[in-house]
Amino acid sequence: MSARRRRVLLVSSSGGHWTELRRLAPAFDACERVWCSVLPEMRAQVAPDAFHLVPDASRWNKLRLLWSALRVALVLLRVRPDVVVSTGAAPGFFAISLAWLVGARSVWVDSIANAEELSLSGQKATRVATLTLTQWPSLGEALPTDAAARRRGTVYFGGSVV
């Protein structure tokens, strides 16, 4: 790893997505962790790490989706992460889709709630994420230890949050 600590932006919506995202925290102990989600009370849950608030949105409200995407883009430009991580749903998908704005690599960890098929946002994220992981062995290929053997757009099984 380079001398500078890598900056990792962790993004999700609320509920189970946020519960799952926080369980990934120790993977980034050697990094500068910055969080981004949808409820003000979450700031205290991840302190002393930095936290950015964005609006949540579902695919039923297009205008709100656009607003959420714009706010996520602004967070990306402010934080300038090296890596973007998300467990879903909409704000995380936007962060992964827009990671190219700041040249960040991205990893989508599909929620453990999706046990029989990838979530809708996960299926879309697979097209843009550097790495897509499912938490169910039946939904992905074994994750190669060698990064060069990995293919973009393929879903890999890499363990689970529980």
Partner: protein, 162 residues
Amino acid sequence: MIFVTVGSQLGFDRMTAAVAQWARARGRTDLFFQTGATAADLRGFASEPLLGASEIARLYDEADLVVAHAGTGSIIECMLRGKPIIVLPRSAALHETRNDHQFATARCFAERAGVHVAWSEAELAPLLDRAVDPRGGITGGAGIGPHADERLLAALRAFVAE
């Protein structure tokens, strides 16, 4: 105390009303309902549509039993604490969620100790009767740690370091 929770997004009266009906029939008032939007008759019970994170954590801590929709957030909170949880999956056909992913979640988590599934609201009362009977065989699991499994953490560490 029995904590009944529908999660942070949508009401779930099929579950809320069935649990309230069971409690009335058994003369119990030691329940707390987190309901979302609801039309269920909850007179005589403590209830709130939505709760803050610290309040939710306190209720999970104090509950002897949790009844919830089959959301991963609710399930993980109970696994963390080694508490028994009874889940009722939301149905897409009944417009309780956009697809049947909670049935998949329930099928997969049903194998974990402490997670008990009511496949329909009719199965709630018999499960609740067993859960409040010390010999009913409805118990919590051993409890899980606060973080994702080591395999997932290692995969993410390696990805950041690439």
